[in-house]
Symmetry: C2
Subunit: 318 residues, 2 copies
């Protein structure tokens, strides 16, 4: 059931023994909203714990240590930034997916898996929803909380760059900066610093970028060997995946990620007249008009050739 | 003479037959402030012209056409975003550098070349200064003006990422977005779109990146041949130059740009304990503690080796 900001505030005020979850492969918004909510609820005098799977190296500054569990038994489960219970990861989904009390989210695609859902699709980040929720609760911003909310908003907006940014997003960020947080350090850590492994991977990725069909189709192939050689995980190199679609004149930008030998996850970003969801549906996948995905098996060359052929037909409607 | 916002406003109100200049190799802030001021003064009923040298391809959307000169004789010269009259370029400096009436700028290093100088070093961009100036003048924002001011602020802050961003910068950007401008398109054009030539150059640049001294020194060499092969000019690829200093653990990040065969402009960004200005002074250059430059002649290998040797000594104080 979708609920209002006010109802969500009341639910949190009443709750205790709260477990906070976010999605697997967490990004800055997932971890930012998780730790911000944790700090808020601790400050409100609640017994709270959180669970995260892994944490990207460049986001460890967000972490707040929690005391040992000592027989903690959750009675209220909150998720932040989780559009679908499957995204909790197998273990957490099995354990808690069926009885989430409150989901705080900004994905219009939220499946409504929770008992109560506060979803604000017009917000750029779960952290922006939390910022509004805290205002609705008349809870003041501490710099510790503000740092995490800022990081989440900055992450999910590509540092205020993407289509999800509104004037209100910028005003929220301004208010968060007013607490005196070192936003520059956040931006540096999140956006301006690349690990040597990242740079190594980026170089390999750029060299693995090919264009076809007079530059209208771009394919970047990220192999398991590349990940292994560079010593990075998928969550470390999310930004690189956007490259094919960033190239001027590209109507279909594919990123192929090798999940296991010979099995590829395909991410497609498109521009008119290429409909990404239609194209990916040809291979049993789906998504949105300008962003969709599918899975294919075969060698990189085979998979790439099949996709390029399909994309050529799609651009032919130009 | 440094003047207040109010005095600058009065000077603009009184002026007519105004020529607006900005620096050579203009970026988004230079062109944004130039065209925004042009639009404002035209709206105020003034006779105005502007001059720009070149314009980067991705910023042509900022351009406002001006009618033919028809015997226009400037009686009031304004510069925007010009810290030093030399930056006007040889032609404009020679012609107008000595009699600039008003400089509107945000560089603390402004040399005071103008008769009256409105310099606000705490502002992230000349466009942010102009935004404040327009408020002081009680001049309303049109979407056309807001689009150019937003672009300038976004450009000079790396889309709200750099150390120059304050909460006020974000509030200014929010107010500019409130006029209904398509900020997403700006961000896409300026930050999320790469030309094929850019991508080609970026690939070559990444392959030309070397690290030394256990990853503490990074050198990227941009040759004339690379510019020629990719078909780009220096102003098109400014962002790439930051790469060496972005790598985690790098204390001295050099970018070598070949100005003419065998003559190199060296740009150095450093972290403690490497003092960039001290290091560049060894080669007759200078600058700031963490950002400095110099010029060297020789082959790429020779120049790189000399710089790396000097940087090794500088890091040895670690």
């Amino acid at each position: 059931m979708n609920i209002t900001m006010r109802r969500a505030a009341a639910a949190l005020r009443q709750a205790d023994d709260i477990l906070i979850l976010t999605h697997a492969y967490p990004d800055g918004d997932a971890l930012g909203s998780l730790f911000a909510l944790y700090l808020l609820l601790v400050r409100m005098g609640k017994r709270v714990r959180y669970y995260t799977s892994d944490e990207p190296q460049n986001l460890t500054f967000l972490r707040v240590e929690q005391p040992p569990a000592e027989g903690f038994k959750p009675r209220f489960i909150v998720t932040v930034d989780v559009a679908d219970r499957k995204l909790l990861g197998d273990e957490m989904n099995e354990k808690y997916g069926a009885w989430v009390d409150l989901a705080i989210d900004h994905h219009g695609s939220n499946t409504g898996y929770a008992n109560k859902t506060l979803v604000c699709p017009e917000k750029a980040a779960a952290c922006e929803v939390l910022y509004d929720l805290m205002r609705a609760m008349h809870e003041s911003l501490s710099p510790e909380i503000a740092l995490r909310l800022y990081t989440g908003i900055a992450t999910d907006t590509g540092c205020f760059r993407y289509a999800n940014v509104t004037a209100d997003t910028l005003r929220a960020a301004a208010a968060l900066m007013d607490t005196g947080i070192d936003a520059v350090k956040v931006n540096n850590d999140v956006f301006e610093t690349k690990t040597r492994q990242y740079v190594l991977f980026e170089r390999m990725a750029m060299n693995a970028l090919e264009t076809f069909h007079n530059g209208q189709i771009a394919v970047m192939t990220l192999t398991q060997e590349m990940f292994r050689k560079a010593g990075v995980g998928e969550s470390d190199v999310q930004g690189i995946k956007a490259l094919p679609r960033m190239i001027e004149g590209v109507l279909a930008g594919f990123t192929l990620t090798e999940k296991e030998p010979g099995r590829w996850r395909v991410s497609l970003r498109s521009r008119d007249p290429v409909d990404a969801s239609v194209l990916c549906a040809l291979f049993g996948g789906g998504g949105h008009k300008y962003a969709a995905g599918c899975e294919l098996t075969g060698t990189a060359e085979e998979v790439s050739a099949r996709l390029v052929r399909a994309a050529e037909e799609a651009t032919a409607h130009n």
